[in-house]
Symmetry: C2
Subunit: 145 residues, 2 copies
DNA sequence: TTGCATTGAATGCATGTGCATGTACTGTCC
DNA sequence: GGACAGTACATGCACATGCATTCAATGCAA
């Protein structure tokens, strides 16, 4: 009955718990703040951001779903539905990819770009508060508004 | 139209993305491995672990739900249902708290303690692999079995 | 004691997620 | 050309989660 962790394991567990705490604090705050003020979830903001970056970097109008998938930590189905939500909200458009008609090209709309630009300062602010702050104030508790 | 982040913001974003990647890799691997082999989710394992630690530290038989809540990053309702699942699986018992009959005391059963002890090495192993490994292999991709 | 605000936990409901599968398309081999 | 495996994305389904609410019990005040 091995009841105790080795020092290495204990350090690993400590690291993991801090990671969990930071993730919970930040993601929960982001979801709440971005959701309240801009109607965006954390992952939705991430997708908008990857679209902005991808288009800026490549000078392209849109990205393939399969290009977005590795950058956001979602299953393929969750990403598909997330994009559907964004499209329903008028923030992105989906179009059949010309070169491979199985694929879908996702492009920001003007409204999507604006929403992203509006939300970005708050996103950065929340990150600054939650990543800088000591862990402990997780999701269940109320954080600063 | 502030299109670019300051260096401080860029660092914050980079830190956040790495945290997201590590969290996704580890939590997804834990869910899969613990789920496949022991029928436990990541949070369920965490709750069992807090029960083991809490009982060992305080020499007590069980913990209050309200004591567990701050340690796992779940809402009160999610924790309530998680405990219900554990109880249904025979891993914990719920009993009315004597001193405050609003409260519920959650105690490990023998089966719960055994399941935890069985699962712990795998938990530590997965942490070692995912926290040590370079980020990039997130949930959607398949990790080592 | 009664009355009332507060707390601890459970539940109704809406939603986001992953797995498995379905559908459409591509590329290859014959 | 036709058959078939593989890829890209969407969808059915089950389930875990959070918010709001509900129910029970406590503490306090009159």
């Amino acid at each position: 009955m091995a009841e105790l962790d080795s020092p290495a394991e204990a350090g690993l567990v400590a690291e993991w718990r801090e990671l969990l705490a930071r993730h919970a604090a930040a993601s929960c705050a982001l979801d709440r703040e971005l959701g309240d003020r801009y109607g965006l979830g954390m992952s939705e903001f991430e997708v908008l951001e990857r679209l902005v970056e991808g288009c800026r970097a490549g000078g392209r109008l849109g990205l393939r779903v399969s290009e977005l998938a590795p950058t956001v930590h979602l299953s393929q189905s969750a990403l598909s539905r997330l994009i559907a939500r964004l499209e329903k909200g008028g923030l992105v458009t989906r179009a059949m990819c010309e070169s491979d008609r199985r694929g879908v090209t996702v492009a920001l709309t003007e409204a999507g770009r604006e929403r992203y630009e509006q939300a970005r300062p708050l996103h950065r602010e929340v990150l600054g508060l939650t990543l800088g702050a000591p862990p402990g104030s997780a999701c269940s508790g109320s954080s600063s508004g």
